[in-house]
């Protein structure tokens, strides 16, 4: 419990610093939310009040923006985020089978995290890697022509590596 509290206090201080850094920017909310998520891993609801105050927005507006965009999350993800492309080009090259394989191996559905906290599985609609479909992204690294066995290797690698690459 004390650990959790300390983490929250650290996050709050970090977030306040980011708010100060971004609040004068025109259209500051998206750059600020990106900065928070890049640093903390997600956008904690506990920071909505300070964001709304700094940017003269209502809490509902902040909540509305965070939840409108697929990229922002309100909960801590796994140590790694694995995105599987569901768009047409990848479908033409067998992404459906890859999705089914990933869900079965990880024992999760989309938007869920594996029991060991290693991987959060997300759908994505195009990574711009359509020439080498099907595509998968793990954190910020992209993989092309991914077969089920290559997916197994990516999963195995993500499971053993502790920190985000």
């Amino acid at each position: 419990m004390s650990d959790l509290q300390t983490t929250q206090e650290v996050s709050a201080a970090v977030i306040d610093a980011l708010i100060v850094k971004h609040q004068q920017q025109p259209g500051a909310l998206l750059p600020l939310l990106h900065a928070i998520q890049d640093t903390v891993g997600y956008v904690p609801q506990s920071c909505y009040a300070s964001i709304s105050k700094a940017l003269s927005l209502s809490i509902a507006e902040v909540h509305g923006v965070v939840t409108f965009y697929h990229h922002f999350r309100t909960h801590q993800p796994g140590r790694h985020v694995m995105q599987i492309c569901r768009a047409e080009s990848c479908q033409a090259m067998g992404s459906e089978a890859l999705e089914a394989h990933a869900k079965a191996c990880l024992n999760v559905d989309y938007h869920q995290t594996t029991a060991d906290g290693a991987i959060t599985l997300e759908p994505v609609y195009c990574l711009g890697n359509c020439a080498l479909s099907p595509s998968v992204m793990v954190d910020d690294e992209i993989y092309g022509r991914v077969s089920p066995s290559e997916l197994d290797a990516l999963i195995a690698e993500a499971k053993v590596s502790e920190v985000k690459a």
Partner: protein
């Protein structure tokens, strides 16, 4: 003598191991005591050959590919750094048939230069367009762009010069240039390739746009799914600022243009220009009613040019070589070239830039090499997830905005996704509705509700429930979405749905005579 070796830093090359290949080549060269300089270029766009490694020789650049880490030692054994023969040798890059037949104007430098070296950019004719523009009046620049016939690649194919002219004619204390780099269409990646392979051409195009219409601030709204492209863009923007090509008093002209790249956040609808502006303002990406047009009341309520990456990246060559040079390419009212992106089930996927007028069949078979699976190509979707599906009988259609419109299809951003005969077109129609439901901004009812109902109706059709009635219902629903939606997301979802139903009725449980 130092040998220059080119290894792409393009996302798709990285996706098949370019980084590891680069590290292995560097290590092997060091181990053998060879003096090499590794340049991380963009991709030439022959993606089935990535990682394609090129070596500069006296005869020109010699290509090898696809190179894997395990091939590196044998490449050195074969003395590839002097362009010698190897099983993976592709000969002189410029002589590769696939590349040689293309007409690369917008992509003239992609894969050739070091993307973040401004000196390399200038050595390859970079910034000639801006230098000419700085000697012209705003109206003269806009006239050049108008006369070139350049049209937007977003789907509406609106003439770029006319848009600029509206912004030029507005009186305002502040105007903006916004680059729509939210390339979210499946099967498209040319924006990404420009941003990763030749970012200065986009920066130069935006600067020319700013000088032309009197805008001093530009934003590039780039997808969060493109972290590598964002990194390259930021490096290039820094370099352009330092070299005096951006910022105050550009090249001593007294003109100001500042540029910033802003990350999007994974909402497809933000590729629509008004929801993109809402997003840049820090709001939910809800579509705005038009009018007012963004050219008159755009970003923060000010006159704003909103153009796609390819439109803006094509401006420098138009200014450099003149409107007529560009307009001489193409057919009908589709002038210039189109960077076509081959994707999906094809043997040779990649970037093909050609004058408008090439046929789909030429692209699918001559360039694409037919399907990757070896089965017949059954359907092709052109222009992204909101584009129509075309059957084999329409493969002889030339790539031309008006010719596609006649077929009730769109060219959009020039993405072509091929499917072999294992595709289930009822499933693809269902997916189109599902995608619209996931990505709808929710502002208008036809799109928000229609997409969800569409999924349900397709499910009823494929399970055979009240079949004839539900086929009619899907047509009625499509009609409502087509005519009643606020923007192209809801308004064009019927394109993939109805084209699938019309051209492939057998997949919906209808006899093929139902066509």
């Amino acid at each position: 003598m130092v040998t220059k070796i080119y290894i792409p830093r393009d996302s798709s090359a990285l996706a098949v191991g370019a980084e590891k290949v680069a590290l292995a080549i560097a290590a092997e060269a060091k181990h053998r005591g060879l003096d090499v300089e590794i340049i991380r270029n963009g991709s030439r766009g022959l993606y089935w050959l990535e990682t394609m490694v090129e070596v500069a020789t006296g005869q020109g650049r010699v290509a090898y590919g696809p190179v894997k880490v395990k091939d590196v030692a044998s490449l050195f054994d074969a003395d590839f750094i002097h362009g010698k023969a190897h099983a993976l040798s592709l000969g002189l890059t410029e002589e590769i048939e696939w590349l040689k037949k293309q007409q690369r104007l917008t992509f003239a430098r992609v894969g050739i230069t070091d993307p973040v070296s401004i000196a390399d950019y200038i050595a390859h004719d970079g910034y000639k367009g801006l230098k000419k523009a700085l000697k012209l009046s705003g109206a003269e620049i806009v006239k050049t762009v108008t006369d070139s016939g350049l049209r937007g690649r977003g789907g509406a194919a609106f003439p770029t010069g006319i848009k600029w002219n509206t912004v030029l004619g507005c009186e305002s204390d502040q105007k903006y240039i916004v680059c729509n780099a939210d390339e979210g269409d499946s099967g498209t990646y040319s924006d990404r390739m420009i941003m990763e392979g030749d970012p200065f051409v986009l920066i130069e195009g935006m600067t020319i746009a700013g000088v032309a219409v009197g805008a001093t601030q530009g934003y590039i709204y780039i997808r969060s799914e493109y972290p590598h492209a964002l990194a390259v863009l930021n490096e290039a923007i820094d370099a352009a600022n330092q070299a005096g090509y951006l910022g105050d008093d550009i090249l001593g002209s007294g003109k100001t243009f500042r540029l910033e790249a802003r990350r999007a956040a994974g909402a497809y609808v933000c590729g629509e220009e008004t929801s993109l502006l809402e997003s840049l303002e820090g709001k939910r990406g809800l579509v705005r009613f038009k009018p007012p047009l963004p050219a008159i009341e755009g970003l923060f309520g000010k006159p704003t040019v909103v153009n796609n990456v390819i439109s803006l990246a094509t401006v420098p060559i138009i200014l450099d070589k003149g409107a007529q040079f560009y307009a001489d390419y193409g057919m009908g009212r589709s002038r210039g070239t189109l960077p076509i992106q081959l994707a999906g089930n094809l043997k040779h996927n990649g970037l093909v830039e050609l004058a408008f007028g090439a046929t789909l069949r030429e692209l699918l078979y001559d360039y694409g090499g037919g399907s990757a699976s070896g089965k017949p190509i059954r359907a092709v979707q052109v222009g992204g997830p909101l584009g129509a599906y075309l059957p084999e009988s329409q493969f002889d259609t030339p790539l031309d905005y008006e010719e596609f419109a006649k077929l009730w299809a769109v060219l959009g951003h020039g993405g072509i996704v091929a499917f072999d005969d294992s595709v289930d077109m009822a499933k693809m129609a269902r997916y189109a509705f599902e995608f619209c439901a996931v990505e709808s901004c929710g502002k208008c009812t036809p799109c928000r509700i229609g997409s969800t109902r569409g999924v349900e109706v397709i499910d009823k059709i494929t399970s055979g429930k009240d079949h004839a009635k539900n086929i009619q219902l899907v047509r009625d629903l499509s009609d409502t979405m087509l005519n009643g939606s606020l923007c192209a997301l809801g308004g064009m979802t019927p394109y993939p749905v109805l084209s699938a139903l019309n051209h492939f009725p057998e997949d919906f449980g209808l006899s093929s005579e139902a066509k």
